[in-house]
Assembly symmetry: C2
């Protein structure tokens, strides 16, 4: 019997690396974890910021118990990659946990994997989830709905990974990993949510996001339409 916990991280160009490196640091420590980085065609994937990661073609991955989909600006292009979406559906069909971090939930949605589910997303992109049929955006940092787990923006990946690890290996095991990575966060500022950030900081970020707002909406609408056309 195969008792490995096979974990597949779905990568794509212009990923936000911390969306998956955070959860990776938590989840590789799970009992019998076997982590694989996969992408649409395999090969070297470049993250925003310059780090690069080698991946295998996702079609070469037999199956997994846990599928994790991070986010980043590249999500918009990845949502139009029909091959990637089909492979995500194939792997998700056999997975016990389907997890997204940040805008990775938009990619899960494009693959049709969120139908009937609530999901988290980066705060600035969250409402876009509502473009998918029967998907409910949820403002919580960790959202658990059936076998689908999702986290808010970027750093929420560490939180959601610990919650998933507790589900996989028990709360005490997850706590031992939390202690090992000394995860007692103490941000020097309280600016991590739009509700708590200084007004000027929030407004300038919203202006920058507004400039790309039409592109973002169009990408999600195209993905939602493709999903509807596929039935």
């Amino acid at each position: 019997m195969n008792k490995d916990l096979r974990i597949v991280f779905v990568l794509f160009p212009r990923i936000t690396q911390l969306d998956f490196t955070g959860p990776h640091e938590v989840l590789w420590r799970a009992p019998d974890a076997r982590c694989v980085l996969a992408s649409s065609a395999g090969g070297r994937i470049q993250a925003d910021g310059g780090l690069a990661f080698d991946t295998v073609p996702i079609a070469d991955v037999d199956g997994c118990e846990l599928l994790l989909v991070p986010g980043g600006y590249g999500t918009l292009d990845a949502m139009a990659d029909a091959h990637l979406l089909a492979q995500m559906r194939r792997l998700a069909a056999g997975a016990r946990h389907v997890v997204s971090v940040c805008t990775g939930s938009l990619l899960l949605g494009a693959a049709g994997l969120l139908r009937g589910h609530r999901a988290a997303c980066h705060w600035a992109w969250r409402e876009l989830l509502a473009a998918y049929p029967e998907v409910t955006p949820d403002a919580a940092r960790i959202v658990h709905d059936g076998r689908v787990w999702s986290g808010g923006g970027v750093t929420a990946g560490i939180d959601v990974a610990l919650a998933v690890l507790a589900d996989v290996a028990g709360a005490e095991y997850a706590q031992s990993v939390q202690l090992a990575i000394e995860y007692a966060p103490a941000p020097p500022f309280d600016a991590g949510r739009p509700e708590s950030a200084p007004a000027g900081v929030r407004q300038r970020m919203q202006q920058r996001l507004q400039a790309m707002g039409a592109d973002r909406r169009a990408a999600v609408q195209r993905a939602a339409a493709a999903l509807a056309a596929a039935g």
Copy 2:
């Protein structure tokens, strides 16, 4: 005039990847940041957990404004790499910020870069810092002492990186990055410090660490002796 903010991340085998991928996600967003991954001989560096990173030989790096040294189990071997330590000293001589995360402070100490300084470290390794002459272990999560900044274990790298970014680019800029990466952490458990972890979790981890305690102490004592011999 060169106004780039050149940031060098010092990597070595068996690094804990989140020690530097967390700060990297924060610091590449600094104005005019130019990030370089460097290691003793260059080439592919394997982190514990399986991720790998391509690096340049540290001797090929001209200089930098910010030197960041992460930690991990590989610190023990890196502390005996005289070439790496000499190159760290060379780069630190021209740097405005010298930063460590987790057991990276043991490596800074081995390079003689902590003399006269307080420094943070992973909670389970912190007291080893006292083996170095004129180095004071500090239990704070973020320690700022002159141009030396240090963070506690693994995830503290995100906190210390935001504090360094505020020093480099201003508090408001750092807050905008905190908002972009939605850093409003909400761990599902309160087990990230030995003081808060359940007793059973803490005791089992201390037992595991005790098993390698002699090796750890010996490695630090060798590094301290080499430092004293070099004057």
